[in-house]
């Protein structure tokens, strides 16, 4: 059985993967960002887009959420796709795919440590004046990433079973491919 302190340490380690993944991912799409710890709850004024992907392994489950302005999502679009004004569907799709790539990076680091969560497909929300309260169960934390186009908010929610453990190091799977790598069978 793990203590709350140990679960908090695991949660912090997973968040480190998330922060590193976010910094790398947004930069690779031409939008360098700076990281800051976000507030426990969030109220975003103005037109926004949100994307959520759930994950679940045997002893841990939760979700990853991205929330930002439509202007930021438009800036995240690959340059070759910016030849026409983005539609609502396009903005939903872009943020959903970024959420997918980010949760994928988090999962791949967890796989290297022996935890292989299954992932849902993205749910996207398009709206104004979005308010997200602090979750009432499990652990939750916002990370804020500032860019020239505006802030991107990333929230990780996790509920750990008492027997959850994150094995030390990534020695369990040394040959894991990394993002951008091609493996031909």
């Amino acid at each position: 059985m793990r203590t709350l302190v140990e679960q908090g340490q695991y949660f912090a380690e997973i968040q480190e993967y998330l922060v590193k993944g976010s910094l790398d991912l947004f930069k690779s799409y031409g939008l360098p960002v700076e990281h800051a710890i976000g507030a426990p709850s969030l109220h975003i004024g103005g037109p926004s887009v949100m994307a959520v992907i759930g994950y679940a392994a045997t002893t841990v489950r939760g979700s990853l959420l991205l929330l930002t302005s439509r202007a930021v999502v438009a800036a995240l679009q690959p340059a070759e796709l910016r030849d026409e004004p983005p539609t609502e569907a396009a903005l939903r799709d872009v943020l959903g795919e970024f959420c997918n790539m980010l949760v994928g990076r988090m999962k791949n680091r967890l796989v290297a440590r022996g935890i292989a969560p299954l992932l849902s497909t993205p749910t996207t929300i398009f709206g104004d004046d979005l308010k997200l309260p602090v979750p009432t169960s499990g652990m939750s934390a916002w990370q804020r990433f500032s860019s020239s186009a505006g802030d991107i908010h990333v929230r990780l929610d996790a509920t750990f079973d008492l027997d959850f453990a994150l094995p030390e190091g990534e020695s369990g799977a040394p040959d894991l491919p990394v993002e951008g790598e091609t493996v031909l069978f």
Binding site: L25, S28, Y29, Q77, P78, E80, L81, A89, A90, D93, V94, G96, E97, N100, M101, V103, G104, R105, K107, N108, V111, A116, L119, S120, T121, A173, D175, L176, P177, V178, E179, G180, E181, T182, V183, L184, F185
Partner: protein, 130 residues
């Protein structure tokens, strides 16, 4: 000569990115938004695609399930080479895809030149297998 490539991904952004890369290299491109859509289109695409670029996590029918469905068509079906394009790097999933006939695995975000190199290699050298 480049042939037809089917892109199966629920993200329009990814389909567009892949399509632009392949169209610029002379390939003909058809798009499907999930595995179920791809199965329907495979019945109507003439000629059959020379290669399929396939996501793993999709609504309705995911990439692994799609491969299983193709394998289930039996020895009379000439399965085109399949390259998985996904955020997943789980070795178990990779082995599963390989066992079902996939020929390659690329982890998103992809670089256009690497995707194109893989597609060109597999369409030039890999005969259709059943």
């Amino acid at each position: 000569m480049p042939g037809t490539v089917m892109i199966v991904d629920d993200s329009q952004m990814v389909r567009k990115q892949v399509a632009r890369t392949l169209l610029a290299a002379g390939f003909v491109v058809v798009e499907a938004q999930d595995g179920a859509d791809a199965l329907v289109q495979l019945s109507s695409v003439i000629p059959a695609p020379a290669l399929i670029v396939l996501d793993v996590n999709m609504p309705k029918m995911g990439g692994i399930e799609f491969l299983q469905s193709l394998r289930g068509r039996g020895p009379g079906f000439a399965m085109p080479p399949v390259v998985m394009l996904t955020t997943e790097g789980d070795p178990k999933l990779m082995q599963q895809a390989k066992a079902l006939g996939a020929k390659g695995w690329i982890i998103k975000p992809f670089r256009s030149e690497m995707l194109l190199a893989a597609v060109q290699k597999l369409t030039e050298t890999a005969p259709a297998t059943d």
